[in-house]
């Protein structure tokens, strides 16, 4: 590992704004917060994955992966980050390193040529160049290549040093944030600045979630200047240093970036979430308050309150209509972080019973909130083995599982409804309207008539009322021409069926003619 990268990692781990880190002893802090992975029992993405997740939503930039095929080839165009403009971000660019490139050390040259071709063909505002395990191992200097390419081609090439083996997805997020801070933010100036400019960090506009919230900001006259990185344009990210307030959405992955924006450019930040009704309102309130503190007109606060009152009334009216369709359902929530509790309260208010919520990736604060909302910590769990989850669902202790794609099939194979609440989902659930969409999704899942059919007995599960001994087969098999009965014991002569009484009701093996057969359909 290059020393620069090693220092960078140590630096991001020592995050003064992170509560967990601050509470550690000096000794512990030195160790960093990477949990050692257990071979044979690890799951989840690598640092490269995390970096890609954080940066790829910059929609007009090109994302070039310097790696043998697997890194880009097995992962490109697999995320639902939506764009309202360019779709260049969804194009899979990679150097596809070969054995010869690795052995002969041609990686850097190939990368340089790849950038050249990319710029010539697509002329993007910027090229993000991702390092991965192999080039990092053989010592390809992507920083130098990017520097040379930037000078030569006039298109900013940003090195993202987050090879997979350095750690987790979360670490990759942080390293991506560092890359933005070091190479992108502050490189362009907006035409004009207003006291209503904000940064939103950590929302990737999955399925359009940012757009569910944006109308609220539009109505308040708040402009998303720096979007990091939902539906972002490169220029937007480059101008992020001129915003007045930063909202850090979801998880603490990019807290380093938020803090550095604060320290370097004096942009205060707050953590908030757009999941759930009260959270959305809370986030809007804090955002407006901080904008006013930064110089916006104080009347913003009144407009904000009016908007919240109006939107909350509207969303509850809509949700009330859905209430009868979901009330009383037992939900098992398997997600993590702040969603452990932000969704719970809304579901409970709709009369659903949350029988458990996982607190993976959740902070102590999050856990406190869960306890507060559920009035007990009995329903809080960390990880649940798929086998246990299957059993729980199979025994119908829950009516629906809400989780990420990974546990999807645990529910489905137990013939239980499943609702996607993680980033791979196809529907946006953010803001006020998102809550309605989510409850609709629950309704659609749990009330699908298919479940009853699927759980019903197979035809062979119930014993037949009466059986008949069949005569031996006649003739020969049309394929093998083996005559029927050869080397096979012939069944005893069957009893002749009773002479039918009349044209109707002539029984056969318990089967009579039936006038109505609708019960089957």
């Amino acid at each position: 590992m290059a020393d620069a990268l090693k220092d960078k990692i140590a630096d991001v781990f020592n995050e003064p704004a992170c509560g967990t880190n601050v509470s550690k002893s000096e000794q512990q802090r030195k160790k960093g917060c990477a949990k050692p992975l257990t071979p044979g029992a690890a799951a989840g993405g690598c640092a490269f994955d995390g970096a890609m997740i954080a940066l790829q939503p910059i929609v007009d930039a090109a994302h070039l992966v310097h790696a043998p095929l697997a890194c880009a080839g097995n992962s490109w165009d697999n995320r639902g980050a939506a764009s309202s403009g360019s779709i260049l971000y969804r194009t899979g660019f990679t150097t596809d390193m070969t054995e010869l490139d690795i052995v002969m050390g041609h990686g850097e040259k190939k990368l340089y040529r790849a950038i050249k071709e990319l710029v010539a063909a697509h002329n993007p505002p910027a090229v993000f160049v991702y390092s991965t395990c192999v080039p990092a191992l053989i010592g390809d200097d992507i920083d130098a290549v990017c520097k040379a390419a930037t000078e030569k081609f006039g298109t900013p090439c940003i090195p993202v040093n987050a090879p997979g083996y350095v750690g987790s997805k979360n670490l990759g997020n942080k390293l991506a944030g560092e890359a933005l801070f070091d190479h992108v933010i502050g490189t362009l100036e907006p035409e004009e600045c207003t006291p209503y400019d904000v940064n939103i960090i950590g929302d990737y506009n999955l399925s359009g979630e940012l757009w569910q919230v944006k109308p609220l900001l539009d109505r308040l006259g708040i402009r998303i200047l720096g979007s990091i990185t939902g539906d972002a344009r490169y220029r937007q990210v480059a101008m992020a240093h001129r915003a007045k307030v930063t909202m850090l959405v979801c998880s603490k992955a990019l807290i380093n970036l938020a803090r550095k924006l604060d320290e370097t450019y004096g942009i205060p930040f707050f953590e908030g979430s757009f999941y759930g009704i009260s959270d959305t309102s809370e986030a809007l309130r804090i955002m407006c308050r901080m904008l006013v503190e930064q110089g916006a007109e104080p009347e913003l606060l009144d407009r904000c309150e009016a908007l919240i009152a109006e939107e909350e009334a509207k969303v509850w009216a809509d949700l009330d209509r859905l209430r009868p369709r979901v009330a009383g359902r037992k939900v098992l929530l398997y997600t993590g972080g702040h969603k452990s509790w932000s969704v719970v309260s809304a579901l409970q208010e709709l009369g659903m019973e949350v029988i458990g919520t996982s607190v993976r990736k959740a902070t102590d604060e999050d856990k406190e909130r869960v306890k507060e909302i559920m009035q007990t910590d009995a329903h809080m769990f960390d990880n649940m083995a798929p086998k246990d989850m299957y059993r729980l669902l199979k025994d119908a202790k829950a009516d629906v599982l809400m989780s990420g794609g990974r546990s999807q099939f645990v529910a489905l194979k137990a013939k239980m409804p499943w609702v996607d609440v993680n980033q791979e989902k196809h529907e946006p659930y953010a803001g006020y309207v998102g809550m309605i969409d989510m409850v609709r999704a629950i309704d659609r899942a749990v009330n699908n008539p298919m479940w009853a059919e699927l759980r019903s007995d197979a035809p062979w599960d119930d014993p037949l009322p009466a059986t008949t001994v069949m005569p031996a087969h006649k003739g020969a098999c049309p394929v093998t021409h083996i005559p029927a009965g050869v080397n096979r014991p012939v069944a005893p002569t069957p009893p002749r069926p009773a002479r039918a009484e009349g044209p109707t009701g002539a029984g056969f093996a318990g089967l009579g003619s039936s006038e109505t057969d609708f019960e089957d359909c």
Partner: protein, 461 residues
């Protein structure tokens, strides 16, 4: 109970139904060495033949009694006799199936009586089985004509059996007009999997499956043999697929005491379960063959994967009653919403069991209006629905008859566990293909300011 509604318009716009005689002709083509004969003016036959050829992409033998003005007024018995004579001379069919048309029915000919007289007089016609079904164009649709023809075949060719002496491994399979070739084959496969041997009536699987034969024939290329039809009384049981086959099944019971069961649908988990359960009982097997059990398990999984796309899917469907019922119930069972259902014939009792509030007895114009008003996401009907689909910008799933702008319609199978699986995948994939890329405007958000857009500069390399 679903309300059957007759729209109050005099004008039929883009007809949904095909005529009853055409259905009868199609059923007759499922008899070996057959020629269907329309008793009417030659245009009736020409249109029907073109319709059939467009669907099957096969030469279809179909003849006419070529009624003219004089014979229409004076009576067409001579035309029928002459037609039979000529057909026998030219193609030596073993079977001639006559279907009346609106023209001769309006005049009110006693074809049954006249045919009896002709057959009694013309001893030389003895080696051709002649069947007549009354199928005026003005009553019912393709499904009804098909059903009348099958009933006529049974009434004429199945001998009455005073005593019951069943072959326990034999079953009759009466196929409704909505089943494709591949679907009949799938049902036969299932029946055979239980060690049972079916007599299929009518059997299009060998006549209109689309194959290259060794010689040219002026008759149907395959189908149920007359011997098999005569053997139907000895079958242990009759499996009737499609509510429209109930009459034929009942007739068989009347004539030969063969008990029956009608399966209004063999698409969807529970209907197929019922079919399999019946086969188990008939074969005396408590268990099903491993392949059948596996196919059921795979259908369960297909349902799980498909329900994300079928749940809440708004569907507009137009078809003959049996097809309408089997596809609609399957989709509704998967959480889809049948927002518009249009059918061709009001007679079928399955219409009252439809999984929607009302069924219109109407045309493709009704389907188009209904689909537009209800915001349907998908149309299911035959190829003529393409105009509506185009205007509404909706995908069209081609089901029923005719399918003339796609080839291989006979190979589509939507019955049994396998066919249902394929059907669910088909619907789910079409739903996915319609994926709408969200925009900020969808949510009422302002677009991103142009200021942020990248202005490509001249390449420097």
């Amino acid at each position: 109970m679903t309300k059957v509604v007759h729209p109050r318009h005099a004008l039929s716009t883009n007809p949904l139904k095909s005529s009853a005689p055409l259905g009868a002709a199609l059923a007759y083509l499922g008899i070996e060495s057959a020629i269907p004969l329309f008793h009417g003016s030659q245009g009736c036959t020409a249109f029907a033949m073109v319709h059939l050829v467009r669907h099957f992409k096969e030469a279809v033998p179909l003849q006419t009694t070529a009624m003219n003005e004089i014979s229409t007024i004076l009576g067409g018995a001579e035309q029928i006799e002459e037609a039979i004579e000529n057909l026998r001379k030219k193609s030596a069919p073993k079977f001639i199936g006559i279907a009346s048309t609106a023209l001769t029915e309006t005049r009110g000919e006693d074809v049954v009586g006249e045919l009896k007289e002709i057959v009694a007089r013309r001893k030389d016609f003895a080696d051709t089985a002649i069947v007549y079904a009354s199928t005026p164009d003005f009553t019912g649709a393709l499904e009804d004509g098909w059903a009348r023809a099958v009933e006529a075949i049974i009434a004429t060719l199945v001998p009455e059996a005073p005593e019951r002496d069943p072959d326990l491994r034999r079953v009759n399979l009466l196929c409704g007009s909505h089943l494709t070739i591949a679907e009949v084959e799938e049902l036969v496969r299932l029946i055979r999997a239980f060690g049972l041997d079916p007599i299929v009536l009518p059997d299009l699987t060998s006549s209109l499956d689309g194959h290259v034969g060794d010689d040219w024939r002026g008759t149907s290329l395959g189908g149920t043999t007359l011997e098999d039809i005569a053997a139907m009384p000895r079958s242990a049981y009759t499996l009737a697929v499609g509510e429209s086959m109930r009459g034929a099944a009942r007739l068989l019971e009347d004539r030969a005491m063969v008990p029956y069961r009608v399966f209004p649908s063999v698409t969807g988990l529970k209907p197929v379960d019922a079919f399999i359960r019946t086969l188990m009982a008939l074969s005396g097997q408590q268990d099903a063959p491993p392949s059948v059990k596996r196919d059921r398990a795979r259908l369960l999984d297909a349902s799980l994967d498909a329900h994300f796309h079928t749940g809440g899917l708004k569907v507009a469907i137009g078809a003959d009653p049996d097809l309408l019922f089997s596809l609609s119930t399957t989709l509704a069972g998967m959480g889809a919403e049948i927002v518009t259902a249009v059918t061709t014939s009001q007679a079928s009792p399955v219409l009252e069991r439809m999984p929607c509030d009302e069924v219109l007895v109407g045309d493709l114009g009704d389907l188009e209006r209904g689909a537009a008003a209800a915001g349907a996401a998908m149309l299911l009907t035959h190829s003529h629905g393409r105009q509506a689909a185009h205007r509404l910008h909706l995908p069209l799933v081609r089901v029923g008859f005719p399918i003339f702008d796609r080839i291989g319609a006979q190979d589509i199978c939507r019955v049994g566990y396998r066919g249902t699986r394929a059907f669910l995948y088909e619907i789910a994939n079409i739903a996915q293909a319609q994926h709408h890329a969200a925009t900020p405007q969808d949510f009422g958000a302002a677009p991103i300011a142009e200021e942020f857009d990248h202005v490509p500069h001249a390449a420097t390399c």
